[in-house]
């Protein structure tokens, strides 16, 4: 039978034992107090260390909710370029198909426009989910709005009932496309420039 059970959960008492036990508790208590105070003191410098580490690695701190993940500006620009390259390639294919059919094949031209609308909506979704840092947010918003305007106009063009009506949209679509291209370039430039210290939270 264990000693612990024999004394109802409490070990047998001996003055010498309790003195040593007390010394252990006090030693652990002092050690713990030192560690807690040291930990709290260390914690007060977390913000400064965070900023210094991010600045050293050219990191953008606003890309994860907890702020711990480190994504470099170069990585961000690369992700953005990948999205844009894919969208531009698809829109170029759809644009070529439209140009080839706009004079004599209404159905084929409308089909090309419908594909372009789908690509523009897909780009819209990707841009809306892209983790743009605050410094680029305004430019990115302008790009999203320009892309949405182009998608709406292209969708309207795709509903044309004649080739003449279809082609009548061309000047406006060109202006809207140019606006999207301009905003794309602005976002790319904005992402290429690392945020300054005062832009970081």
């Amino acid at each position: 039978m264990s000693e612990t059970y024999a004394t109802g959960g409490y070990p047998a008492v001996g003055q010498e034992d309790t003195t040593v036990g007390g010394a252990i508790v006090i030693a652990m208590s002092i050690l713990s107090a030192v560690l807690v105070i040291a930990g709290l003191a260390y914690a007060t410098g977390t913000g400064a260390r965070h900023k210094a580490a991010l600045a050293a690695a050219e990191c953008e701190p606003n890309l994860s909710p907890s702020g711990l993940q480190c994504t470099t500006v170069a990585m961000l620009a690369s992700q953005y370029t990948a999205i844009m390259t894919l969208a531009t390639q698809q829109l170029s294919i759809d644009g070529a198909a439209y140009t080839a059919n706009q004079k004599d094949h209404l159905t084929a031209a409308e089909s090309a426009l419908a594909a372009a609308v789908a690509a523009e909506h897909a780009l819209d979704t990707k841009l809306a989910g892209f983790p743009f840092p605050p410094a680029v947010a305004r430019t990115a918003k302008a790009l999203i709005q320009a892309n949405q305007a182009l998608a709406a106009l292209t969708a309207e063009q795709a509903r044309s009932s004649s080739l003449t009506q279809l082609r009548s949209f061309n000047p406006r679509v060109e202006v809207a496309s140019a606006a999207v291209q301009r905003e794309m370039t602005l976002v790319r430039y904005a992402l290429a420039v690392p945020p300054t210290a005062n832009q970081e939270p």
Binding site: A12, V36, H50, L68
Partner: protein, 291 residues
Amino acid sequence: MAITREPHAPPKLRAARSGVDEWMDKDFKFGGSHIKRKAVALILLGAPALAPLFFMAPAFFTMNKNTFSGSVDDTLGTGAAICLFLCLLVTPMTMLTGQHWFVPLRRWFGIMMAASAFGDAIAAGLTDTFEGGFLGVVAGHVFELMGFMIVMLLIPLVITSNHWAQRKLGRYWKRLQQLTYATWILLGFHLILLEGVGFERGDNGSGFAGDGDPIFHQRFYQYGACSLFLLTLRLPLVKRWIAARQREGREWLVWVTIAPIFALFVFGMIFFINEQIFKGIDSFRETPSSE
């Protein structure tokens, strides 16, 4: 040897201790039925142990391999560690407070620890990118071998965590359940090997999160902070000292002395719980964090 319970304890102390237990044993009326206060308290205290499995549920139902691969260790692994510490906390708290109403939580947290650890091992084995198939993944590296051994030890612990097994095994049951201490030690080895033996070197260890705070990311340090309290209050000499002070009616001295060690325990647990909540929410949304 005669079995007598607390022969030296003054009647006043015993009455104070049993008071809360008696209060918890009483019923209260709710919607026409009688419910024990203890049952409500145990459900409220035990429910958070379901959080790790709850966080992974969406990824399980959608079979989202990306989420399992990215964050199952942080969600279920951290959950298992938290449950282990809470399981180990019950005995010291019983000794300190003299209350027993929360003792059933020890088994509950133990079972939930096992559930989380099993889920972590299975998901890691199926989704991790290490070579060697399932066994190669769960036991191919030393730190993983430690985790695998924990899982193996948990199997008999879970199977025998019921009254039937307790009756059948008799005096061997307690000895078997003491394997929990082996899982506690192995968890320490698992964490220390996982993260560069407690030191960050380059990008070795979870300390490399890009925020300049490697110390706060070292889970072995958090493990140490939590374990000091749990270990100290299990030392026979310390238990004797506490019992002696309680018999003298100087419980305040025990609380004052223990307070910094308990504060360190809470300090360490905050990091585990913080990890559990943030990584768990990311897992629940099926957008696993790669931190």
